[in-house]
Amino acid sequence: MSAGIDTLRLTAEEALALVESGQVSSVELWQAYRDAINEHDGELHAFLTLVDEPDGSGIPIALKDVISTRGVRTTAASKILENYVPVFDATVAAKCRAAGMTLLGKTNTDEFAMGSSTENSAYGPTHNPWDLSRVPGGSGGGSAAAVSAGLAPWALGSDTGGSVKLPSAFCGNVGLRPTYGTVSRFGVVAFASSLDQVGPVTKNVRDNALLYRIISGRDENDSTTVDVPPIALPEGTDLKGLRIGLPRQLNEVEGIEPGVKAACEAALAKAEELGATIEECELPLSVEYGLACYYLVAPAEASSNLARYDGVRYGLRSEGVDFREMVMHTRHDGFGDEVKRRIMLGTYALSSGYYDAFYGTAQKVRTVIKREHDALFERFDVLVSPTCATTAFPLGAKAQDPLAMYLTDVLTIPANMAGLPGLSIPCGLSDGLPVGLQLVGPQFSESTLYRLGHALEQAIGFDVVPERLR
């Protein structure tokens, strides 16, 4: 620990206060985290690239390695971008810099954010700080593990099917997948454009709101962004008047672990004590078709988004006798199995003769999912469920079974398909591992999610420091 800074417990808000009051310099703070990285990242492998010089005046941050950082290698955890150094900052990276933040490094992820365990990284998996034999969740396992183990006060992830929410749940962090269109995707290595959204990974709810404030807003470089209503920093624990819906299909999903169910029920009981009303509701179509729909839309867009990695302009180039062969060799050598699998799935789903049956139908189902959620939001302010039916699973447990891996995201995907914001907060432990509670609201309801998340956080008193590091 440098300068008496306990990076395991220090929140970003507290860190900010230390720097602003002059008690700790920006460089000292950065060094404290860098020391923690040096001490723990050998066993965690949360980082793919470290920055050696702090370049701001504020507090540090870690960024998922799909976020372009000017002058700092950005690999998307793929061999195909092994030596790629962006010449420009992603808008979110620029906003962090503008806010004075110092970059610690780039965090591990499943290759091109495709996965639920961070095991698909071309550079090896990240380990869960709560149990090194387990996965941190994915795809943003590096950011979640870094925040959880005190290697960064906060971090950014990106969430397509659950890549912020799931790792946050598995590592005991607070993670927001924002309303689609509120955070710029400019400079974020694209996986599935209509779903990708960058979100904050933090130790508590207020930090999350602070970071979301900084990164959100309309961006002239991303046509899909919109103006974002002001974000209220949550205060207090009063939940009077808040209507919580419990979608039965999410809360009673097959294979839910008893410890997960118990932790979620305990959290809901607290919410009721604080004045919220709770009622069961139905979300049948979204849960039944969400995952299938996602695995048509996301790979289809990915197959097109990843076509630019052809070896012509940047990144890996393998030789070939002509253009076609050079591209084939480059992509053969540069992409991992899961990425290839999704490119093939997506190419197939868009092929002439199959488009209507697959991609076309999936887009229609997406509209159905939106409507089903909209109808519930006439009666409820927030829908609550576990973020995942299980806690973090052992490394390797699902690595050879893609379908089992895909099912990990069955609870996070429906809201994502509808473009809705979702906040995962830790709500307790099950067999010593964190359990995530997912709060989903209508578009632009982040302030409401923060209000509920903050109140529950106070009521639950979850200790965010992994037991083995306390």
């Binding site: 995707r185 974020v188 694209a190 599935a192 991609y359």
Partner: protein, 470 residues
């Protein structure tokens, strides 16, 4: 009994818009520049870069759509057209597919035999590819040892105009292209220069027995960079197809590369390997909803279009003259000269022949000075007139000094020269007097030569006849 064959021709035209910036980024849009200097992360398809549509390009496409009497969509979307090629950095082109900006229009083409209405199926907006330079070969991809890519052109805005297959002669196809070019140039959308590639077109040709309404297999002609080549290529292809059918053969669907120096068009690629472009809606862009006020504003900017002007001027002059004046962009100057008192037919002749030969841009000419020059054409020596004409486009051009150099018509000055010519050519004099009246021109020519072209040929001719008749 031999069959009469009817050609069926459809055109696909690409026009590069001369907006200040490219279609989806802020790079300079313009011809020239050192290779790869007009590029940025967006048009080089760096990871995470996103397109932002060029508002001006959208407006100009709508303007062209209005000029072509199209229906302007109240909702238009961009699609991705996916294929791998070195000049396509994203490996997809952002184009429009089933919801184009403009559809169902027409362009009326005046011809010597009356007006022909050509249907416009659609006019849509897309981005141009970059430019491949194949090294150490004919410049074509076959057999190239290396391919260099210049991305300066990549991402320039292109409008694609597709006609209905209701053109039935090479002449109408050529006139359509000329008229469309003139329309585009007058609207200020593009320089539409064939040699610089800012206007390009492909022609689909098939033939069928006259009176039938079937559509037979068509071939596509590419690489025709002049309107005359287009007409020639179409004629040649029509003849080739007729010959095949008359010999009992079948036409293969293929793309033919037009080579004006060869007798036949060489096949480029067979459509059997037809690409599956896997079109799908571009998720990085939101739908366009052109506002009715914007559309009306653009409609107000459109003046009298070439078709209408040909129609009007053909009331005064022949269709041929009207067509040449309008499609040559000369009619406004012509009208000014005629208003200034010039003879309409003579003004048209001067413009269509001597003036066109100078290559001067008609808009650079001061109509008042030009009128003075045309009015004195018969009174000044030809050489002086030609010299003046070559300077009419100069800033501050005045007809005055040229008009002052009137031809010598004074008999007392000319008679000694004529006498000398007669004296020097006794043989011709004898023949003339023997009835060979055609030799008059010979004597006039000699006198013109002796006077350095300064004599008025009509006066000379009169005087020669008098003297020889004596």
């Amino acid at each position: 009994m031999s069959t009469t064959w009817e050609p069926v021709i459809g055109l696909e035209i690409h026009v590069q818009l001369k907006t200040a910036t490219k279609m989806f980024c802020r790079c300079r849009n313009g011809y020239g520049g050192e290779p790869n200097t007009q590029t940025c992360p967006v048009c080089l398809a760096f990871p995470g870069a996103l397109p932002v549509p060029n508002r001006r390009a959208i407006e100009e496409t709508i303007k062209l759509g209005l000029a072509l009497e199209c229906t302007i969509a109240d909702r238009a979307i961009f699609h991705r057209k996916n294929y791998f090629y070195p000049d396509l950095p994203k490996a997809y082109q952002i184009s429009q597919y089933d919801e184009p900006l403009c559809a169902n229009g027409r362009l009326v083409v005046p011809t010597a035999d009356g007006e022909v209405e050509i249907g416009i199926v659609r006019a849509h907006l897309e981005e141009d590819a970059a430019k491949n330079v194949h090294v150490a070969t004919s410049g074509r991809i076959q057999g190239a040892t290396a391919t260099l890519v210049d991305f300066n052109r990549g991402g320039s805005p292109l409008v694609e105009i597709v006609t209905a297959p209701n053109i039935h002669s090479a002449d109408v196809a050529k006139r359509f292209l000329q008229l469309l070019r003139q329309t585009v140039v007058e609207l200020g959308l593009s320089d539409a220069e064939l040699d610089k590639g800012s206007m390009r077109f492909d022609v689909n040709v098939s033939v069928r027995p006259a009176g039938s309404d079937e559509l037979r297999t068509r071939t596509e002609l590419k690489n025709m960079n002049s309107f005359n080549f287009a007409a020639k290529g179409i004629e040649r292809e029509i003849a080739r197809q007729i010959k095949i059918y008359e010999n009992g053969g079948t036409v293969d669907q293929e793309t033919l590369h037009f080579d004006p120096t060869a007798e036949e068009s060489a096949p480029m690629r067979s459509k059997e390997e037809a690409q599956d472009y896997r079109y799908f809606p571009e998720p990085d862009l939101v739908p366009l909803h052109p506002a009715p006020e914007m559309i009306e504003g653009l409609r107000g900017q459109i003046g009298e279009l070439p078709t209408a002007r040909i129609r009007r001027i053909a009331n005064t002059l022949s269709f041929y003259d009207a067509d040449v004046l309008v499609t040559g962009g000369l009619d406004r100057l012509w009208a000014a000269v005629v208003d200034g008192g010039a003879d309409p037919k003579e003004a048209a002749n001067v413009l269509a022949n001597a003036f066109v030969a100078t290559g001067i841009n008609p808009s650079a000419v001061n109509p008042e000075e030009f009128t003075k020059l045309v009015a004195s054409r018969s009174e000044i020596p030809r050489a002086v007139f030609d010299d003046a004409l070559s300077h009419v486009g100069d800033p501050g051009f005045s007809a005055e000094p040229y008009v002052a150099q009137k031809a010598v018509s004074d008999a007392s000055a000319l008679e000694p020269v004529i006498a000398a010519v007669i004296e020097a050519n006794p043989g011709q004099v004898e023949q003339y007097r023997g009835g060979k009246q055609g030799l008059l021109g010979f004597f006039v020519g000699q006198v013109m030569k002796e006077t350095g072209g300064s004599a008025d040929p009509r006066v000379v001719s009169e005087l020669v006849r008098e003297q020889l008749g004596a």
